[in-house]
Assembly symmetry: C2
Homo-oligomer: 251 residues x 2
DNA sequence: CGCGCTTTTGAATATGTTCAACCTCAGTGG
DNA sequence: CCACTGAGGTTGAACATATTCAAAAGCGCG
């Protein structure tokens, strides 16, 4: 039931642009900064699911801002196996460092239908140069992204199947909550079980079994493009989920 | 047999500071820039193995520059399991973004004996502000670090045991080669099999079996703190190793 | 030498994969 | 309206891969 109207009110009821909500979590922004940021999403286009926004090998001239929907970074092995290495949620910017062009080492594609804005490198650089709050926000957002990738290494490297899946569900919940797309009760999620498998390093069959187990444990119900959280504390406990890696503390 | 003399000539015979060699790989540096960079390592101190340079929860005031030896980023789970999420080799800078202080989400510790310099945040910021080549080098180095972490997610998420270990050995070889600490024949490496296990998400026992297999396949011999490469092409083939993620191409 | 850490090996076990079948449901077209 | 279709989800059984446990051997160092 993802709404894709021109102006999409998120479940939290806020009309603020997700990128504004996201960066605000890293420190207050002035009204001017909020307006400038929101302007980035002005030309957002609707993009179908399973569509590549940036392809491996390309040298993109624009960054990609996800305004609505879910996209991911991924790569295929010669064998055909796919690994998803990050999710891009509303408010997330797929940067490219906004200084120098450089060759993409992986692809970025949508999962479900998205609304996405292309942001020219110069526009980003200008924003950062003029607004200290935005510069700071982007810096911390990038730091959070790095920490998240490390957390994923941890997840896939040393957690059991049920822990991995739980951790992923907790992370998505927390990140969507910040931008107003999740409530305590749950969130919409267009991922298939195969997507979850390609993220957690499990087989789709085993993901299915893990999800059933989580349902029987009355922790969370995943299905029909929807995640219903029955017992958040319990889910976080299994996952050993600590949200602090998502918000780099700065005193 | 790691040399730890005050001025350590690397096996490649170069006397250049590893950080100079590393950043030069991302674009030529002026003599002035090289000198300024090399100055960072001036006050390097010797640090024993298995020693924490930065601890989880701390808010460091200085970055850490590894001049010699091997260190790593790691974290422990409550269960005691450890995951290594990155290696810091000679020339690597454990930054902290050199702008804002922020809380460490993981620890950084030495593996074997190291020579390490603490670099105050301001010194780094000054260097970057004054020297375009250094700024560019750091930017690309950071990009390479991010790509490397994603590559690790790939490694642990969807490769078999022998592929994971091979890939790690290839990556370390390539990175050490750039800074002059590896030859085609191999390199010194102070890691235990347990360290390899904590990196690849395997048990120490299984790492041992994989290493034996690689030895029997006449690809590489690991032991006695030394990695002897018998068939680099073969090892890279097993690992599907593509070094390009280590050097972000910029036309 | 003796101690502690690392490496090595075997056997039993756990965990997750593969393969193949079947089910469900939404969308499509007769 | 219903049959058809295809993608995604579910299930069982056989299997592969890696873990755990336990014991012994090697090695560096005081």
């Amino acid at each position: 039931m993802t709404t894709l109207a021109p102006v999409a009110p998120s479940p939290g009821g806020h009309l603020l642009h997700p990128v504004v909500r996201k960066l605000s979590a890293y420190g207050a922004l002035t009204g001017q900064e909020q307006a400038a940021l929101a302007g980035l999403g002005a030309g957002a286009q609707r993009v179908e699911g399973r569509f590549d926004l940036l392809s491996e090998g390309a040298v993109p001239e624009s960054a990609v801002l996800v305004v609505e929907g879910v996209a991911c970074r991924y790569r295929h092995r010669p064998s055909g196996a796919r690994q998803i290495t990050a999710y891009l949620l509303p408010g997330d910017l797929c940067d490219l460092d906004f200084v120098h062009p450089c060759r993409m080492n992986h692809s970025v594609g949508t999962i479900g239908t998205c609304r996405v804005a292309r942001v020219p490198r110069e526009a980003l650089a200008g924003l950062v140069a003029r607004h200290a709050g935005i510069a700071r926000g982007f810096r911390l957002a990038k730091l959070a992204e790095e920490e998240t990738t490390r957390e994923w290494v941890m997840n896939v490297g040393c957690r059991s199947a049920i822990e991995r899946v739980s951790h992923l569900l907790c992370e998505l919940h927390e990140r969507l909550r910040v931008v107003g797309w999740a409530t305590k009760a749950g969130y919409d999620l267009p991922l298939t079980q195969q997507d979850l498998a390609d993220t957690t390093g499990l087989s789709n069959v085993h993901v299915n079994r893990v999800l059933r187990q989580l349902r029987l444990m009355r922790l969370v119900e995943v299905g029909g493009k929807r995640v219903d959280i029955l017992n958040l504390a319990g889910l976080q406990a299994i996952a050993e989920f600590q949200a602090d890696y998502l918000r780099p503390a700065v005193d």
